[in-house]
Symmetry: D3
Subunit: 196 residues, 6 copies
Amino acid sequence: MSDHPISSFPLADLAGLPADLQGRISLISDKSGFVPNVFLAMAHRPEELRAFMDYHDALMERPGGLSKAEREMIVVATSAENSCQYCVIAHGAILRIRARNPLIADQVAVNWRKADLTPRERAMLTYAVKVALQAEEVGPEDHAALHAAGFTQDEMWDIGAISAFFGMSNRIANMAAIRPNEAFYLMGRSPLPAKA
Amino acid sequence: MSDHPISSFPLADLAGLPADLQGRISLISDKSGFVPNVFLAMAHRPEELRAFMDYHDALMERPGGLSKAEREMIVVATSAENSCQYCVIAHGAILRIRARNPLIADQVAVNWRKADLTPRERAMLTYAVKVALQAEEVGPEDHAALHAAGFTQDEMWDIGAISAFFGMSNRIANMAAIRPNEAFYLMGRSPLPAKA
Amino acid sequence: MSDHPISSFPLADLAGLPADLQGRISLISDKSGFVPNVFLAMAHRPEELRAFMDYHDALMERPGGLSKAEREMIVVATSAENSCQYCVIAHGAILRIRARNPLIADQVAVNWRKADLTPRERAMLTYAVKVALQAEEVGPEDHAALHAAGFTQDEMWDIGAISAFFGMSNRIANMAAIRPNEAFYLMGRSPLPAKA
Amino acid sequence: MSDHPISSFPLADLAGLPADLQGRISLISDKSGFVPNVFLAMAHRPEELRAFMDYHDALMERPGGLSKAEREMIVVATSAENSCQYCVIAHGAILRIRARNPLIADQVAVNWRKADLTPRERAMLTYAVKVALQAEEVGPEDHAALHAAGFTQDEMWDIGAISAFFGMSNRIANMAAIRPNEAFYLMGRSPLPAKA
Amino acid sequence: MSDHPISSFPLADLAGLPADLQGRISLISDKSGFVPNVFLAMAHRPEELRAFMDYHDALMERPGGLSKAEREMIVVATSAENSCQYCVIAHGAILRIRARNPLIADQVAVNWRKADLTPRERAMLTYAVKVALQAEEVGPEDHAALHAAGFTQDEMWDIGAISAFFGMSNRIANMAAIRPNEAFYLMGRSPLPAKA
Amino acid sequence: MSDHPISSFPLADLAGLPADLQGRISLISDKSGFVPNVFLAMAHRPEELRAFMDYHDALMERPGGLSKAEREMIVVATSAENSCQYCVIAHGAILRIRARNPLIADQVAVNWRKADLTPRERAMLTYAVKVALQAEEVGPEDHAALHAAGFTQDEMWDIGAISAFFGMSNRIANMAAIRPNEAFYLMGRSPLPAKA
């Protein structure tokens, strides 16, 4: 299985990256035990990779607002609508861990409408998916629905901006056929009840 | 998590089912260690359940032709296109086991075009998905493509009929919001390589 | 006109079918005066044919609940959305007879929204067509709408299950290009008023 | 059944129409035995009705080129794609008569790809339906395909212009819910073989 | 730039047209300073051209009802949904002039939902676009919405009929790749404020 | 007209931005004579704005590869498919200037297939639009088509990445209803030939 290419575009050697990017990627691989393939796949474009990481962190590490699990849930739901293998599998793993729920990622990926969601999460994903698929039709009524579900205007921006950012990421991963690391498939699945 | 309903329609007691159905379901639960929820969800309609099981077995247990793994791959790919949570998660588990491949089910479910497929499997899923989504446009050129990929006419029928049967199953599961058993999520994931 | 093939897959001789299937098909042909082509087209797969007939009868001959005409109306509306020539033409004939209405089948087939429907029939077809085309989006609000239109939960299952079953049937008929018998075209058209 | 409205917009009295329009409509009703409802539904706009009839006749009565049956086949196929009840039922009747074929209209209406078509008719409908549904994608390759099927440039214009004109007509009939006369349903169905 | 063809179908010499058509086209070209290419592109079919002009004038020059700017706004919005280059660019110019607004045509063409519209205009375009794209779903609720926005039944017909007529025009222009005159691009853009 | 809001989310004062962002925006506004509204609309999120500008410049100012006009053409075509008013109108202006062609932006925005394109540009936009709308279906055959049209692998990445980046930008602009500056509408339209 290890002979499947990581990308349909050329890979670059991480050692050739600018020091700041090498450092940031080292931190991530130290923590997760491997280098996520998306970094290898974008390394031939260091400036784009840096902007990508900056944008990602600005949205996903931003203090306050949505919980980390909520943000990952948005990523999984919208990436599934965009049929992005890398993002669904990698962020599905992170969602399982952040939400301490081994079932939620697969549920959201196959059909978020049928997942075990709170009303707040349902409102959040309804907006995220509309931004992903029909952003041209977003209007005041959508923001009113989020307001009714308890979201601040700042959180509305987060939901939509995460959907938009991963809309870009999904398209890049699909155009380059970026392959998810095998480690992601099993992460966060364990504290599963012994019996159904 | 155990308080989520198994179906939005009423459940029936298995003990009330005709003996033949009780027997068949016992065989399955003895083998897998639990009663798949789809049987509970359809038990209020014993005649439909019997025809459902007969049709399923006629297609999925038929001697010769497609391999068991190929049949499950068709189920996962078409059920994912139909966003059917029950079928993707339950048959994804079976596909992992039949194919002895812990990655293939998630790959096929998110985007079969990017999965690790042989050319034969790619041709097979191309036809299965066309039957699922645009059956009205199927024509001689589709059968010619399957023939070129080495499929017999009998196997072509299998591919299309499995897609059609699960097209029914997916619609029933979606209308009743049938919930997959939690045991399915982890089945067949284990012989994963230690490191990505 | 008689040189058009009945199916793009091989036909089997009815005389080679198991006795129970020969008997059931004889009953039908005795009643209608001809053997509906769908039986000829599926005869090469006797087990599938038997399950198909069992499932069909469980839904379409079930005592109580929806009227026979209502069930056929569901078949025509959903088969038309799926562009299935065999099912629209064959069940259109049965609908004309069951509903004692020579106009309704063509109306429903071309655009059910513009057909001469009661509010109950309109609610019924709205749900049936949603199950046919967007089952993944079915939710509690759809069942609430049916409830408001006077349908019991048992009848809701019938509507959705008929739509799902013919969703399978439509895909098989389209993949095999099953040709409707010519007799269907004119059945039930006669008690038409002499003048428009 | 006669209490269903002919249009959701107000009807005008034919007697109030300008003499030329009254004359033209009389000729038609003398020939067919009734006044087609489309004239009643458009009579409140005499200038639009006159332009409509002029345009219709320029395309449908034009000497040379496509046969009358071919023109009606284009109308039925594209009106079916546009789900226009009036046009499918009224022109389906005319197609049956012009083609001396009691089956062809229903076949084309449900799924023209599965109808009993010659290769020439298939090429013709492929283009007509593309103009109806994806005109923005029409390009030189489409005209090359028609040329290869033996159509002159003049006939290509006819095919596309008939599709475009009935695209207008379909939209007007759908917005006003114009009801087809009951007489259309049975016209041209008779010389059906005695037995299927 | 002048070597791009005006149509993919043959052009006819205007001098060969019947006198009435020559006269009408002269009036237009005298007023606008050039002969709009649509006339050149349709001149090979004088009867169709005459009916086209008659229908156009019946809808667009009709006394009373919608303002001239409103009618052109319908043309631009629906022609943009149909991706018709000729109609968006030519009628965009006329809309800028009629509405005395240099911004509105581009806004409506790119996304009418985000344009600077009054509630009345928004209701009008909602209906016009529904007739353009989903006429088969138009029903009483759409007319009720127009009524609530202050439109008479006569004006509703105008909105829908203009959408339908340009639906035809868009298809003809797209099938023949009719090229807009270059003069249209700049018309009505001038009284723009000096600074943003 | 000046009372239309620039965004449906709160605007931030540019004076409150970090110095590096103030400097970069000053450079742009000095050059164009105004501050593009997108900066005002994103100023409440300085980190996102910085990453946005970095990513934009990495793709749009990158030395070598696609010409500046080609890059803007990709932006206009994909933003039009996404119905993004801000991007079509702002980048339409830049495209007119970069390509020294007052017609091309409107042509590409309404229907890029009918625009005055070279075969190279047509291949480029075919891929860009596929990444925008169906990235999940991108495969080797798409890259082979670009190769055949003379594009290097590096340029293929540029085309797809620009489409993906503006896919994000379009979604943000649509969710916040970001209004284009009025100055963009007229930029680059002038050296228009005196007569069509």
